[in-house]
Symmetry: C2
Subunit: 476 residues, 2 copies
């Protein structure tokens, strides 16, 4: 595209959306050009901000005509560079943020229809306002959007009971790479009429088309919730406690998070006002949440029964059950501040692995040995969604070391150690963050070539021009 | 394919599988040639019965070389003709029944790996034997196979709590149309590494490749189950009772089936040994099931509380809670005998519709009016999974009429009335049975053309020779 063509394209775009919804000045582009973790620095040709689905379709048609690649962006909270353009200045960043309406909410059907730019917290609040629950919950929920959490199939802290973003989505509205609108906003629980296009777009990170709206599943709000923290001596004790709690509480067990004592010590260092309810006398701490349909007292008794038995059996060293909502929120705050404390402590090498629960303890122990052998003094910050077999197995520079230098020198080798170890356990190198730009090589290394070939065939079939978020998920 | 080519192909097939695993005599083919409902009569060139995945891959390669279309078949219990060949004598029927091993079962991971030919009941029993639950349950479970229930994304009576077949599958092993083996038998709850190929094969009815094995999710077995029947005067009362029970019982509500009084009267007529626990003084009956993690007494009290309140409120006319396992089984037997009683009564026009719960009562009432206006004397046999918004809205010939003639003359018009009514409510013409051959026209009529075009693009990309179950799901 030469300069004259570029001008014609931007003029057409402005005519379509109104000049105020097309950004092209460097200082306007800046907030959209860099990812949240500041690892990827793109240079969009412009930022287009359509206000409705018809406009999205027209923008996509315009891009198809001019062969302009499109990079969709929601809240820009992704962790793998999936919503950042390349540095060529030829890609259009398409921000869905203006499309932030909740179009419909039916308590009778348990369905909420939200546009792609709707912030996750706004969906939670709308459900809550109607006396229902939208359970998807994650640290970035104040900024992350519906389109983003679906395009990355986000996870979070309630997957154990309610599943990931995929499980909570009943239907989609999508603009195809040809600029057509597919209205698949179903409110049905069952519909076996052809290929599952919905689940193909979910988790495709915008490479097959643009999600513009979604029908999301709401749940009855539990009558009571109870949160507890429990200290255990070994990772295997946490796994055994999980099985025990799951057996006793069934679907009532709505949260089961693991945190290493070291992660909590980082929180204490950087957020000293957050108080620990237990003295960290063991290397591992578990956060449990019970949702109960009967009431506070019943919930309390059930959770205490599980933890009491586990203590008798020597599986749990010490435990505290929150007695008030404030205490429960304080426990969750400890968990949620781990990534922030880690960021305060300095740059670190992040992983988002999953392994089968039965291999979890062995993975944690053997990988710790491998990492500390290869990188003497490196500090492990291990925490995550044990109930889903998903840990953020992060590695921080040695105390007092130069974190940026550590990252630059050791990131690749460290990724290889951790991802090889997960793969050896039948695990995944990306449990809930996706592939984006960050893990393109991992995908080729760990994924079956047969699967990659099918992915390429699907990409070529649906997006033959290759204009939808190019260079993400699959290396071109 | 001329005769010499056909002989060469069959010789190669016998060399591959052993002569005893290739059937080509008419009397051997017969059980595979006709569907369970005896609506479709195919003429397979032969039946191939591979014993393992490598053999399936070799058969597919052989077929690709000789351009022989493949129709996969499991238990042959499908309701839409999806597993029946055409009458040309050129299609190979590939039976997966010999592949019936349970390869692995891990209680720690809650995962069972079963081959495609494994009968559903065998999977349930294996889970039960390990002290766990595989919740997928449907009338044909004694014959239906894992490959079949996944290829049609089967539903059944436990979808309300545990989801359909799709929700219970963690990973697949698939032989592609090129005869390659994709090992995607994951035991992970979370894995965001590229396009969701698993869900693309689930529900594709064998048109994109052959499912040869699956990793399936097991659950903790509830401590107690309680079943009840409740009579209601209007369909809307049943819907209101559903909301009330869901609010009070949450995930404990594992079954919620609706049966018209007329359906139960048919059961009484044809299976008089099955006793009704309530006198049918109302036009609708609901079957509820509660699964409880605490025990029998707790379950009993919870279910009685819900039904007691609903009776006080006038929503429920009469109710009976099963006091013993035998009573509970008798209640379920009434529900499960409806399709059998209906078959005894004579041929009928079946539907498998879904509508949003909020539209259910209006759909039921207005459709009854439309059908009986168009087909005077026609008898409605309405029952199904109300909790999922899914009804089998079946239409039987007038009492004493010629059922075969009624079917031949009125099936198309009747389908149109019922499917149009479902579509007008935002519903589906196939909730859990799939498309197969039976609903090819419905798919084109009711599905968005944008979605159909994407389906065709995916089919062409993955199966460019068009040899995988041709003429199913999509008209060629």
């Amino acid at each position: 595209m030469n300069k004259a063509e570029r001008i014609r394209f931007l003029d057409a775009l402005r005519a379509l959306l109104g000049a105020s919804h097309v950004l092209s000045e460097a200082h306007d582009l800046a907030p959209y050009a860099t990812d949240w973790r500041k690892r990827y620095h793109g240079k969009p040709m412009a930022v287009a901000m359509p206000g409705d689905t018809a406009q999205v379709a027209e923008v996509v048609q315009l891009c198809a005509t001019h062969r302009v690649p499109i990079v969709p962006q929601g809240g820009n909270t992704g962790l793998v560079g999936g919503a950042t353009t390349d540095a060529s200045g030829t890609e259009l960043l398409l921000s869905l943020r203006r499309m932030n309406r909740i179009r419909d909410l039916s308590t009778a059907d348990g369905v909420l229809v939200a546009e792609a730019g709707c912030v996750l917290a706004a969906v939670q609040q709308a459900a809550d306002g109607a006396g229902m629950l939208f359970p998807l919950s994650l640290a970035a929920e104040g900024s992350a959007t519906v389109g983003g959490v679906l395009s990355t199939n986000a996870g979070g802290t309630a997957v154990l009971r309610y599943g990931n973003a995929r499980s909570l989505c009943l239907g989609l509205e999508v603009v195809t790479p040809q600029g057509q609108i597919w209205n698949g906003l179903s409110a049905l629980r069952k519909d076996n009429t052809g290929y599952d296009l919905r689940d193909l777009f979910i988790g495709a990170e915008g490479t097959l088309g643009l999600i513009t709206a979604a029908s999301l599943q709401l749940f009855a709000r539990p009558a009571a919730r109870r949160t507890a923290m429990a200290l255990v001596a070994h990772a295997q004790d946490a796994v055994d406690l999980l099985q025990q709690a799951r057996g006793a509480l069934g679907a009532g067990l709505t949260g089961f998070e693991l945190m290493s004592a070291h992660s909590l010590q980082l929180v204490q260092r950087h957020f000293p006002r957050l108080r620990l309810p237990l003295e960290l006398s063991s290397p591992w701490c578990v956060l449990l949440e019970l949702s109960d349909n009967e009431g506070e007292a019943h919930a309390q008794a059930r959770l205490e029964a599980v933890l009491g038995l586990a203590m008798e059996q020597g599986r749990v060293v010490d435990a505290a059950v929150a007695q008030t909502l404030a205490q429960a929120q304080a426990m969750w705050a400890l968990r949620e501040h781990i990534p922030l404390a880690q960021a305060q402590e300095g740059l670190n090498i992040k992983h988002d692995i999953a392994v089968p629960i039965s291999r979890m303890a062995a993975f944690v122990e053997s990988t710790a040995e491998l990492v500390t052998q290869a990188l003497p003094g490196a500090r492990l910050v291990v925490f995550g969604h044990l109930g889903d077999g998903n840990l953020h197995y992060n590695v921080q520079a040695p105390l007092g070391g130069d974190a940026a230098d550590f990252l630059a020198r050791h990131q690749d080798a460290c990724n290889r150690i951790v991802h090889d170890a997960a793969a050896a356990c039948g695990g995944s190198f990306s449990a809930e963050h996706g592939v984006g730009q960050l893990k393109l090589d991992d995908l080729l290394r760990y994924k079956s070539p047969v699967a990659v070939a099918m992915m390429r065939a699907i990409k070529a079939a649906l997006d033959p021009q290759g204009l939808m978020n190019p260079g993400k998920v699959l290396r071109p």
